[in-house]
Amino acid sequence: MIPIPAFLVLAGILFGIGAVGFLVRRNVLVALMSIELMLNAVNLTFVAFNRAYPRAHVGHTTAFFVIAIAAAEAAVGLAIVLAFFRLRKTVRSDAADILKN
């Protein structure tokens, strides 16, 4: 039986990898993937904590909703990235620099 803190550490590491990837990589598609990774870390947290309260399935149900939210967000995000790519011919986030002072 793997203890709950181990899962939390793993979730924290995954979330950290996602956050760092989001901030460091200049490719918007990689940024999208990083966000997915972070949301999966969230799911791991919810499911791991559910073990502490076996009678209530709060963690499991929440994970389902997080999955649905992530899918909806990814769909919209890809569409926006696609529109951005069509107009600017690149998926690098440096190209998003017209709107500034």
């Binding site: 939390l8 995000g77 600017r88």
Partner: protein, 492 residues
């Protein structure tokens, strides 16, 4: 069945959306391109708004996950009015720029609104998250609306860039909020707002709390999470930005109030510090950066960041009186900021662009519009006899009563800086000669005029008679169930 009655406001908005969807799908494209769908939305939302005064429903639904009462109703009315005004303000723009895609625009608007009206009533963190996402995701789509419009700005992909920025910041904030909520609910073992604060807080849960504050702070444009605000405001269509700059922020504050002031009221000493700090930084950075802007939309964006700082002062008190002032401020901000953006939009429609210099000679070119702009700017600056004055005064009063004296001093000093750039806009509109003079300028259509007129009436009317709104805000705040006057908690 009772649940459906209790949930009638979100269901009505959703029903309007589904109705519109079916109309959009069933009418032939050519006919749909000629119709002014926005009128249907605006009138429909106003009808629902009127019905909230006639139907008296209070109670819980969905096993206690949703509760309607004065608190939820206050926010719902705010959202419905914001939606209706944005619909009036946007109907001509949408019809003119994207006639074939009107249905999409208004559908997304209504779905976003249906999420918004769920937010303040949500008593369960799961519902809070889902409703908040239902609100946010359509907003990303709306920001990109009209991206292939043949005008110059869109051809460069400005709307797409605005959407990219709004989306990535929004998605990141969602991840942070969810991770924070995961830690919080995992350690307390419940998702009910009323019970998350009951257990003594472990360090990990405090970290989760900070993540939640950061994630929600993004959505309301709170410093240090404000970077997307000016860019998105500049790139997206102005009537949509008018909506984006008020309604989602109010929803974000409703969630912050629900989680922190209500759910975490016993752990007040934990969050008052970060919230007060964020309030100070928002006021300072928002006001200081707004001074340097040359684009009116960016200027109003930074001014919005500063205004959120003032709301957060009142929220940081965590008391009934302070929350009532939050509500009052939000209503004032709704009419003022929405109106200001619509005026800027109307001026751009006349071909003068969005630069501050583009406002030159507005008092001669369009006296009524200039007068409306003056009302809104004075209200944003907090000059007496318009509603913004009372809003600022009450917020600072609430902070003073709660002992947050340093924040009050900072608020007053920074409001003086705010005067500079608001008066700069006014000077451009009143004291400078028009650079171009064309007698046949058209400042948008009748619906846009109606929306601006309604905002002016509200700003001036509530400025002269703030009492009814104050009473309603007090009742709503009482309904949330936060301490009337919390014991002094060592806040600065």
């Amino acid at each position: 069945m009772n649940d459906l009655v209790t949930l009638w406001v979100p269901l009505a908005v959703l029903g309007l959306g589904v109705l519109l969807l079916l109309v959009d799908v069933l009418t032939p494209p050519k006919k749909a391109a000629q119709a002014d769908v926005g009128w249907l939305v605006a009138v429909g939302l106003l009808v629902i708004f009127g019905a909230t005064f006639l139907v008296d429903v209070q109670g819980v639904a969905a096993y206690g996950a949703y509760r309607t009462g004065p608190w939820a109703l206050f926010f719902q009315r705010l959202f419905l009015v914001a939606g209706a005004l944005a619909a009036f303000g946007g109907v001509e723009d949408v019809q003119k720029r994207t006639p074939g895609r009107q249905g999409e625009y208004w559908l997304m608007m209504l779905f976003s609104l249906s999420g918004m009206v769920l937010v303040p009533g949500a008593q369960n963190l799961l519902l809070v998250v889902v409703a908040f996402e239902l609100m946010s995701i359509p907003l990303y789509v709306l920001a990109a609306h009209g991206k292939t419009d043949p005008d110059e700005a869109s051809a460069k992909g400005n709307a797409a860039e605005a959407a990219v920025k709004l989306y990535f910041v929004g998605a990141l904030s969602t991840a942070f909020t969810l991770f924070g909520l995961g830690l919080l609910t995992g350690l307390t073992g419940t998702t009910e707002l009323a019970r998350i604060g009951a257990a003594p807080l472990q360090p990990l849960a405090a970290l989760g709390l900070l993540f939640v504050l950061g994630g929600l702070g993004y959505k309301i444009g709170m410093v240090p999470f404000h970077m997307w605000v000016p860019d998105t405001y500049q790139g997206a269509r102005a009537p949509f930005v008018a909506f984006l700059s008020v309604a989602p922020k109010a929803a974000g504050l409703a969630v912050i109030a629900g989680i922190f002031a209500f759910g975490m009221q016993t752990q007040k000493s934990l969050w008052v510090g970060p919230l007060g700090m964020a309030a100070f930084l928002s006021m300072a950075i928002g006001n200081l950066l707004a001074v340097t802007q040359s684009d009116t939309r960016r200027l109003l964006g930074y001014s919005g960041v500063a205004q959120m700082g003032y709301v957060l002062i009142a929220l940081a008190t965590g008391e009934e009186f302070g929350l009532a002032m939050v509500l009052f401020f939000l209503v004032a901000y709704l009419f003022t900021n929405l109106g200001a953006f619509l005026v800027v939009h109307a001026n751009a429609e006349a071909g003068a662009g969005f630069e501050v210099d583009g406002l030159a000679g507005l008092s001669r070119r369009a006296p009524k519009l200039a007068l409306a702009l003056a009302c809104f700017l004075l209200s944003l600056a907090g000059i007496p006899f318009v509603v913004g004055f009372w809003a600022k005064l009450y917020v600072l009063l609430a902070a003073y009563r709660a002992g947050l004296v340093s924040l009050v001093v900072a608020g007053v000093v920074l409001a003086v800086i705010g005067l500079f750039y608001y008066l700069r806009l006014l000077r451009a509109a009143y004291m400078t000669e028009p650079t171009v003079s064309r007698p046949d300028e058209r400042f948008g259509g009748p619906a846009l005029g109606l929306a601006i007129a309604l905002c002016v009436v509200a700003v001036v009317g509530l400025g002269l008679f703030p009492k009814p709104l104050l009473d309603a805000a007090t009742r709503a705040s009482h309904d949330l169930g936060v301490p009337a006057a919390a014991p002094h908690v060592g806040a600065r």
